[in-house]
């Protein structure tokens, strides 16, 4: 079975631009979570979606938004990019809302 997939793998943007990152969960998984990992730190929770509803939100500004589609895939949108948004963005899926999380390979975003 395919694991969690994310696209694109790498992305370069300039300040002020907008970016959309995509995630496809493991088949049958209904929950998707997004994390931001800055170099040298642990991942920081951004959002969790379960059955297309937002279930949790971390301490990130409103420039960050996400949604989950009927097929349980998800998009993370970041508007008005700042240099500090440069990071590895990780997506994880779980079968239910509170179970073992399986991570995708991540999207590396560089904001210039």
């Amino acid at each position: 079975d395919a694991g969690v997939t994310q696209s694109p793998t790498h992305l370069i943007k300039t300040r002020g631009q907008q970016v959309t990152l995509r995630c496809s969960p493991i088949s049958g998984h209904k929950s998707v979570s997004w994390y931001q990992q800055v170099l040298g730190q642990g991942p920081q929770f951004i959002f969790q979606y379960y059955e297309k509803e937002e279930r949790g939100r971390g301490n990130f500004p409103d420039r960050f938004s996400a949604r989950q589609f009927p097929n349980y895939s998800s998009e993370l949108n970041v508007n008005a990019l700042l240099l500090g948004d440069s990071a590895l963005y990780l997506c994880a899926s779980t079968l239910g809302a509170e179970e073992t999380q399986y991570f995708g390979p991540g999207t590396r975003l560089l904001v210039l």
């Binding site: 730190q41 991942p43 971390g58 590895l88 990780l90 509170e98 073992t100």
Partner: protein, 109 residues
């Protein structure tokens, strides 16, 4: 929010050595997971262990939920064990998986 502290921050081992990584957390949790992050950034599940002890090959983990800590044991370390090990907890009060800062393990041949 919940605090997750991992120790030591860095660990250098000779191949074949054993080691113990520790994770302390500040509040009651629904679950605790250990991950290994490889040099390419991929996070690999090692254990889902809200309490008790589990073993998987040369790795084992113990969580004592009442005392709010977990230990990850690496035995007979190999160079492929190098990377960053993260502990992550899911608090009782919300749905935000919180990670520690990680322990960077370097295994030398």
């Amino acid at each position: 929010g919940i605090q997750v502290e991992q120790s030591p921050p860095d660990l250098i081992l000779q191949e074949g050595a054993n080691s113990t990584l520790r994770c302390n957390f500040s509040d009651s949790v629904n679950n605790l997971q250990w991950f290994h992050q490889n040099p390419w950034g991929q996070l690999i599940n090692l254990f889902y262990i809200p309490s008790g002890t589990k073993q998987n090959g040369r790795l084992s983990a113990t969580t004592v939920a009442t005392e709010r800590y977990s230990l990850l044991y690496i035995s007979s370390s190999q160079t492929t064990d190098s990377g960053v090990y993260f502990c992550a907890v899911d608090p009782l009060t919300d749905y935000k998986l919180s990670f520690g800062a990680g322990t960077t393990v370097t295994v030398r041949a």
